[in-house]
Symmetry: C2
Subunit: 205 residues, 2 copies
Amino acid sequence: MAAANDQQDIKREKILEASYQRFLHYGYSKTTMNEIAGDLSMSKALLYYYFPDKSQLYIAVMRKLANDYLKTLENRSGTFADLKEAFTFQVNTHHEFIVSNYNFFDFFRLNEQNLPDDIWQIVGEVHGTELKLLSDAIKAEVEKGTIKAVGNPEEVVDVLIDALHGIRVGAISQKKTNFPRKEHLEEIHAKKLLLVDIFIKGLMY
Amino acid sequence: MAAANDQQDIKREKILEASYQRFLHYGYSKTTMNEIAGDLSMSKALLYYYFPDKSQLYIAVMRKLANDYLKTLENRSGTFADLKEAFTFQVNTHHEFIVSNYNFFDFFRLNEQNLPDDIWQIVGEVHGTELKLLSDAIKAEVEKGTIKAVGNPEEVVDVLIDALHGIRVGAISQKKTNFPRKEHLEEIHAKKLLLVDIFIKGLMY
DNA sequence: TTTTTGATAGTTTTGTTAAAAAAGTCAGGA
DNA sequence: TCCTGACTTTTTTAACAAAACTATCAAAAA
């Protein structure tokens, strides 16, 4: 099963890496298959030998990013001293993930609506895992007796995740742009930490 | 000063009312100045006598809506038994406002980015007033001693308002559309109430 | 048999232009 | 001062050709 075809897997990885760099710097619509092929000194046709089409290539890169992100979260899961640490870690990890891959998600800003279903599937997996990890953290605390029983941990976490998503930039009367600008990410991050702080207290006895 | 020109003001009001109906039913881009004029049995040119252009007309309607909305909030301000009542009233009023004017905001969905500055000014005014009313509510509770002193009430309310904005539709893995669909508004409303509930507790002793 | 490519077919984006529709103006009438 | 019909200007739409890019395929290379 393993190493069924090393060479092929290695090449696939190389393609993913080159594509990631292009997508990261120029975004989806501004990178062409020719450019990726050029970076790898291979023919464009070969890309199509390894990946069915451009969007599937992008999605494969995205899946890899998502897996790395989730692995980071999962690795520390269950090792937290308290709820606040667990939630803060999630917010910080998410923040770093967005900051370091900011341009990559260019695709989202442009395509906004009607993204391919595979993308939504990844988003769903990520959301589902975040939901599971955080609600597990809540359940653990409930068992420890640190916080009161929460009616429905999943529901509570779902609301928190949504709420965190909603944190945008802007003191009063500033334009709240739809997709956050890069220079606002730090401010947003700080506000998220404040929200988590209050929210956690709201779950305590 | 008052009644400087009754006739003119009345006509302006009539124009605003007719425009509101058109914008509400057909949205900004699908209503023409000719149609509005037709509804009022007046010439299109007359519209331009009362309003400089189409977007200013739309903005004037919007300003009126915003004023009504804020008046509703202000009228009840200071009459609440506790913080939760104050915040819940704000969420409910906002919900009703969005539901009953849903199609009107069509303009936002299309123009998403780069809206005229006047619009952002109104949004800013609304946000500022919401912020003031809710942080006043917090300050009142702090004085009553019901809750502990909050470092910076304005900051806390700002985060809450942002968080409420972030509440979108979707259980796990559902597509979270950018601008909420009408059929999701009830679900969103319920989630907002849950968030407010937890958030308020987070502010308590 | 698997991997790779040059040539090419097919599709999407971009640019151009003309016609239609709508926005916006104005001289003049009540 | 309030109002209108006729007019001008601007924006939207449709059609279409050129360019750019995606995607395919037969055949060469390994």
